[in-house]
Symmetry: C2
């Protein structure tokens, strides 16, 4: 991932309405959420949200698909993973020991495979 893409994505998430929107879309994976429903959920005018969704879309963090009258938005999880990876590798690239703690912290949240969901803690 090139810097420009990463910057686009970071900037897209660096705004409260958009961060909330992305979060909400993640929670509604994989069904997605119509633009209007999302606007209602976030209590934001539809045209304002539309602008934010356009920014998230340009950053490739969300995808959209028309479903009859509505346009259903979905979080683009692979793209999001790429951003996270880019950030961490950017830092790991120089310093191997930096990411290990992050991985450790992540494990309880995301059992890499197999084990039952222990995450109810």
């Amino acid at each position: 991932m090139e810097d420009e893409k990463a910057i686009l994505a970071l900037a897209a998430l660096a705004q409260s309405t958009r961060l909330q929107a992305f979060r909400t879309l993640v929670q509604h994976e994989p069904e997605g959420l119509a633009a209007g429903d999302l606007a209602r959920a976030l209590e934001v005018p539809q045209n304002t949200l539309s602008a934010h969704l356009a920014i998230l879309s340009r950053a490739d963090l969300v995808t959209s698909e028309r479903h009859s009258r509505s346009i259903v938005y979905r979080a683009n999880l692979p793209a999001f993973q790429s951003i996270a990876l880019f950030l961490l590798q950017d830092c790991c690239g120089g310093r191997t020991e930096i990411c290990a703690p992050v991985i450790e912290s992540l494990k309880p949240c995301c059992p890499p495979r197999g084990k039952k969901e222990k995450l109810r803690a």
Copy 2:
């Protein structure tokens, strides 16, 4: 980590000079780099870089310490880890299966330190 802090950090990194600056500081851990040296390395006027460093600092992504005449900046790696964690957990919170691939991708980059070395809880 609250949203506001995360947004501050994301916005701080969502700018090419600042992203470069942070990256460079990570590579110079743990010695750090004087503001002037960093400006020279990035080929940016000192006062311009100063403004960017102030933003990174306000976002808690870098720390600074005076060393005689120079002010030495360092990447705040724990804070950076928090951001990465925040982003990933934000997403993992709703969807457990999302982070696993990220962890997988991260492993080759950051061997979990063969030893059980429990990096400082």
